[in-house]
Subunit: 478 residues, 4 copies
């Protein structure tokens, strides 16, 4: 079939009939629900960039697998160039949507599986890589969007999967049949699970002996039987529903929890089933890829925040204030730090046995640690620069009110020559970028908790060699 | 009349008929509007503490003016002890409401006016202090809540009041009559302007020659003719209206913009009118008092955030994680820093000519600078500790849904023995404390912008004497 | 005898004959050794301030014990006013010396012992308080300087005192005799141990059962038999010896390790001997007092650093650079934060059973945590402001050289009208304040390690009550 | 001649007879002066790495110019690979010396001149590129070390070169002759100017009309007539002279000020003379290259600091303390951030008209901004981890003293099995790395002041395009 256009993508979603709930109600028309649509539109931009000359060179590449042009979001990296393009494309799409585009997690799964299934097969003579390659062709040929289902709900976090009172707190195989497996459990924070075609499941943590039932990876269509999407609330979630005070004119993000209520998976869609000793590798691959995806994406979001800040300075008449310029520099510095570390992690990537390239984990985690702390700081700086009306601007409906609208427009005026509507819109955008919970909290918890990034950084660094350096300098013979 | 009970306070608001708009509609019943009511309830706690034995010693004191017990929120400080009590009371009330209680700004106005009106009269033989004392008696005798109207909308911020194309961008006198003055303009970020009885107006900045019309201070009832309250949007504002997913069970905050559409003020309610050389003092007094109010209050809010974090650790089974405990310590450190600097600014206060005590400005601003940066960090730490469900927890309505409610309750379970409802409620509270814009943005912009706090710190520090110290140590004779 | 003058103090040290080593050599004339003298001069300022009208009100007070005027550095606080004066006096003396004055630790011991010996006696009917009071009278009547010996060398830090292979790694009693005890061990970082008259020993950590021999406190003259002072190196230690490139014209700091090589202590000088359950209290009292001493002192040092920075801006012609002014504000903010938290910890002090007042521990530790991180930052800012010549300014001897001196003076010239000598002196002072190890490292490790401050903050905070606040707000019934 | 060995390099310096002063005395034997030698040894490592198999692949490459293998420190980058190797080589050499190796500045000059002289010639038909290429061949063929002389002493920093009362405050041409030019002025912070063969002068700032005499670039031998090196003091400078308490066993850093007291430069060594409009480009090229050199180098120094910290944890028995491990992670994070941004700036480099490759300036400055702030923090963390004896460890001479040496060795013992000598040596190394002024202050001021890095970051970022992104998202048509 080949690359989809934006419209084809949206139409393709209409054909799916997922089980979805929001605000306690069943949602049957996903695509036309304004809140979900705003998320779908963000993902749609990953299709648009493949259509436009300006971005096509970055967004589209030839697949060595199917020997056709494919969207990069379906391509496990097979060169350093591919690793670098990941970062640049994520920044660019984030520039266009100003939020999460929601298609990176699927790619991060495909990339990880293309390494690990190969490694498992090599050891056990299984057929996971074959299954995976077949699935990958399906994704590439039809230009599909995948969605990573990784984070189990975990119950009591001091206990492992089999120690939980309710053993369903981590997704696991409850039945093995001739034609496939049946799985049960729930995965949290499934950004865009209703904007995708396929849900790709990976284990959320390294597993040990006795945990075999939890060592499972597979893919199922987003509307497969027994799969329930419950869209969680986010801080500004009624804005899209009301169609008013949007901030971001077209794009947004939503995050369901998805429940696998005894879902059947045919064997040809299974990529791991019981090989606990490969779970650690799977987690490291996926989380590293995903932390790197964040680096490009969030640098791109800060670009939008910088742009909003500078525009608001123009609108407020504060464009010459030295202290505000210093704050903009602090924002730029944060964006480029994320980006620089991620780019470096790409350029320093290495080829794995399957042929897929893997990034430098240390540098990818270095970037993510900055994100976890500094995105919040960038938001604070943006709010500082833009002013108090980020907190409490009257509604568009107030501006439209016949009794008070004109008074509000009079008093909300900023610098001469700037239409008051523009200033109002920019305040709304700043509010959206600073305070939309679904997006902002992924800065902290996306790709694992901040502590996970730190532990990885330590573990992957060669600390013993550093001790030797110090001893040599001190004149200590060891 | 004397101290009001919580119920009397709420009933007293029913008697007022302010002109108010929200979401583009006129609101006539303020008290029973769920969103406004959540704010009113927060202010009501300042009345409740005066009733309860546990807090009464802190909340109630004898007024030397009317010789009756009064609520501290109507008492300009007449001793160091009063200055200290301000901080402790603000922290305590914040502990109880977990957000802004919205009654401090009125007190900060009363405190400032009790100093500055005296100083003006001394120079000009005017009657402002007399006017003010009469007004103060009215406030104390009836236990009223005042609301500070300070922040003009400002138009182009690179221009002064008279340089604006539209000269109404700063509130000013448009007519002087025998019986009073008529004023026009708009004031932004009027937290709780519909929860109060009296609006007290101060100029927002130091003014110079030619700005006489803008050098105006006065008080009017919240429902005075020509005064329009437009309640701005905040990030979680539809939650109270929906009565669902509240987070903070009872309290919230709302922030109107108020428009003075040619409002008449009788002379006896005027506290400054044209004395531009006292505007600087007025701004410094008010902003210092208000920055200090923040220190107590926000320390109290961090207490709630710490409590939520520790409780969530219990609920998640992460109470033994060393890295999370370190983050809690970081939160405690921030709370105590705000509190310590504010307490010190009280203890180091000085008596002014009118008899009112004024705080140490340097220390009050030192506290506020921390708030502007560190509250955001405390929120980030809380979200880090509590986990990703702050972003996207399903709605209470989902939990109540007959098809998926039980599944959700099963999968949202945390540590054994903790009712899932409690964990859900605590996630909601964390979401509220981290992401409610009306409250969180006051950390940054309340009491003036961050740069204003810094400039004040520099100006009020004796930098010349520090140069002398250094020269003496270096052996330089000057 | 009464208050000593500066000269009397220095002469009083001549009478002592301590065993001292430095750079591998025995030092017999302490007072005239230029390096030690620079430290003695710093302590001498604590005597000078008692002589001068400008400071006398702060430095001298009436002792309720001996009913004579005494230097505050010999007075356990017996009122809130005394607690506050501690902080202000420390800041003032630091302003005058620009480094550590080295007399606070003795006072911190006296203050702690005046609480804990009383408490021990109350429980055990011992005579420690009587011993202590007698010792205190001796200190006050003769205006002596005490020196706290607290930090044991500790050997393997993962092991307790009795677990060490060499049991002398913590100071302990090796013999009990009728007339007294014999002790052995070593104490590290004994700032000013040769500038003092009496060494006051406290245990360094809380001790348990079986550690009785280590639970020992006493005082001995600085030149008691068996006591060896080994003056450690510091980064700029040869400057005073060379009498060249001093930076700080008169004052400095030195830190010996002292070894108790079987030192005899008469019973009347013993303040604790075996009461392990009081060691925890002793450590908390002392460390809290000492952390608070730091707050006043280091705020005073930052004052000097601010003065040096602003003066250098004058000298370099950069006084109008906005970004440098911002950095000065950052320095002021740090100074006032330390000071504010410490002042508050004084004002919030409480009376102990013995009549001595004790500070608020939480606030004192809040201050110290800032010191441990922010002094280093203040130094960085100072160096940033002042410029690269802090690193590598030619020597005074180069400036005096007949061949190159004039060329150097020509090229080191800054702003017109500033003598080049002054600019050179100021660079040297900045170098001294930024890079003198003995002083700068006490910012980090003085009063216990940074982690100790944090653990104390957590332990002393009422975290359970904070959980209750959060539960109430969330609507959780417990 | 080809690559020199370590010994040949040191011997080559013996042939030079520079005019040098230190501590007010003329130094004639540079190579055997222990302080200068420690610096020379650091540079010597850049020759050693070219000899050793382990490093040769990184350190040696084929010069396209002379068609021979050359040391990378004489090679302007002619490919992305060369740009990347710069960073990796700097990190590696820093790993080996634990301080500044002092050969990067010369390379940064060569790299900049290879771009800018070409550009000038293209515009003006001058012969600077030809001169430069001849000079470059000389450097490559003889494997020489160059030293960048950039930072003028500047006098009153609020004034430009020609506004200074003494016009020599910036180096300038005082005479043009047929055979060359005569220059006068002084350059500060000339790290390693006595360890090099050639001094390469560039202007320190962008110049305008009327500043022609200051727009001058050239190279002269380090011992050219009229050139005076005055070695400045650094904080630990007497340690090498004493041969005791070194810390870093073999390597150190020294920084002269050099005075051009009417130095003659033949025309063939002149690379710019009067072309003011190219000074801005020269400054940007050099400072960008040099800021990037820092990133690799300082990451390598942090590696040594991490190694020292972890080793000290082993020695102190604190290797299991979780809070210390967190601090090590903070150090690793800083190292990898510097490194990542610098690597990315290389990989994103571009080819200039002359064929030389230039790095991405934004990313190089992003790295340097981190260095200016975070190296100081890394040092603080190292000192925190290692303990208070960094401040005041007794001298090696004390340990050697027959009376107290054994006592000291007894009490300085750490964990069982660790020779006390090793612990002492490691403390000394930490002292050296934390407190050696010549090295540590280059973190702040090396490659221009911190503000310069920030201004560059802003100027080189495309801020206008970011505004457009924000406006599009907000729905604003411009």
């Amino acid at each position: 079939m080949g690359l989809m256009t934006r419209e084809q993508y949206i139409e393709s979603l209409r054909k799916l009939k997922p089980t979805a709930y929001m605000f306690g109600e069943r949602i049957t028309n996903i695509v036309d629900n304004p809140r979900l649509r705003a998320g779908i539109e963000a993902t749609a931009v990953t299709y648009e960039v493949a259509e436009k000359d300006e971005y096509r060179g970055l967004a589209v590449t030839q697949s060595p697998l199917i020997n056709e042009p494919v969207n990069r979001f379906t391509l496990p990296p097979s060169s350093i160039e591919d690793l670098v393009a990941r970062v640049k494309l994520n920044r660019k799409v984030a520039n266009l949507v100003g939020t999460c585009h929601q298609r990176c997690t699927g790619l991060d799964c495909l990339s990880s599986l293309s390494i690990v299934t190969y490694d498992i097969d090599k050891k056990y003579g299984t057929k996971y890589y074959e299954n995976f390659i077949k699935f990958l062709k399906h994704m590439q040929k039809n230009d599909l969007t995948g969605n990573a289902a990784v984070t189990d709900v975990k119950g009591d976090r001091s206990l492992g999967p089999t120690e939980q009172k309710d053993r369903d707190m981590y997704l696991h195989v409850v039945e093995k049949r001739d034609d496939g497996i049946v799985v049960r459990g729930a995965k949290a924070h499934q950004t865009g699970s209703l904007s995708c075609h396929e849900i790709i499941v990976l284990p959320t943590r390294a597993l040990g002996k006795g945990d075999q039932d939890y060592a499972v990876s597979f893919a199922v269509p987003a509307d497969t039987k027994g799969l329930i999407h419950v869209v969680g609330r986010s801080s500004l979630d009624t804005r899209e529903l009301d169609g008013c005070d949007l901030g971001n004119f077209r794009y947004s993000k939503y995050c369901p929890t998805i429940i696998f209520n005894d879902v059947f998976v045919p064997w040809e869609r299974v990529f791991m089933c019981g090989e606990t000793e490969f779970t650690s590798e799977m987690v490291v691959r996926f989380s590293s890829f995903h932390r790197q995806s964040h680096g490009g994406c969030k640098a791109g979001k800060i670009d939008c925040m910088i742009g909003a800040s500078l525009t608001m300075m123009d609108y407020n008449g504060t464009q010459k204030a030295g202290h505000l310029k210093q704050k903009v520099i602090d924002m730029i510095h944060r964006a480029e730090t994320l980006y620089g570390c991620c780019l470096a992690s790409s350029y320093e990537g290495k080829k794995e046995p399957s042929g897929t390239y893997f990034i430098d984990t240390v540098l990818a985690n270095a970037s993510k640690i900055h994100e976890g702390k500094e995105l919040s700081e960038a938001m604070r700086l943006m709010v500082d620069i833009c002013g108090g009306y980020v907190a409490d601007l009257p509604s568009d409906r107030d501006f439209d009110n016949s009794e008070i609208g004109d008074l509000l427009k009079k008093y909300m005026k900023g610098a001469e020559g700037v239409p008051v509507e523009n200033r109002v819109k920019m305040f709304r955008l700043v509010e959206k970028m600073a305070l939309e919970s679904a997006d902002t909290i992924s800065d902290i918890h996306g790709g694992g908790s901040p502590e996970a990034h730190r532990v990885t950084l330590f573990r992957e660094s060669d600390t013993e060699s550093k001790k030797k350096l110090a001893k040599r300098l001190a004149g200590i013979e060891d």
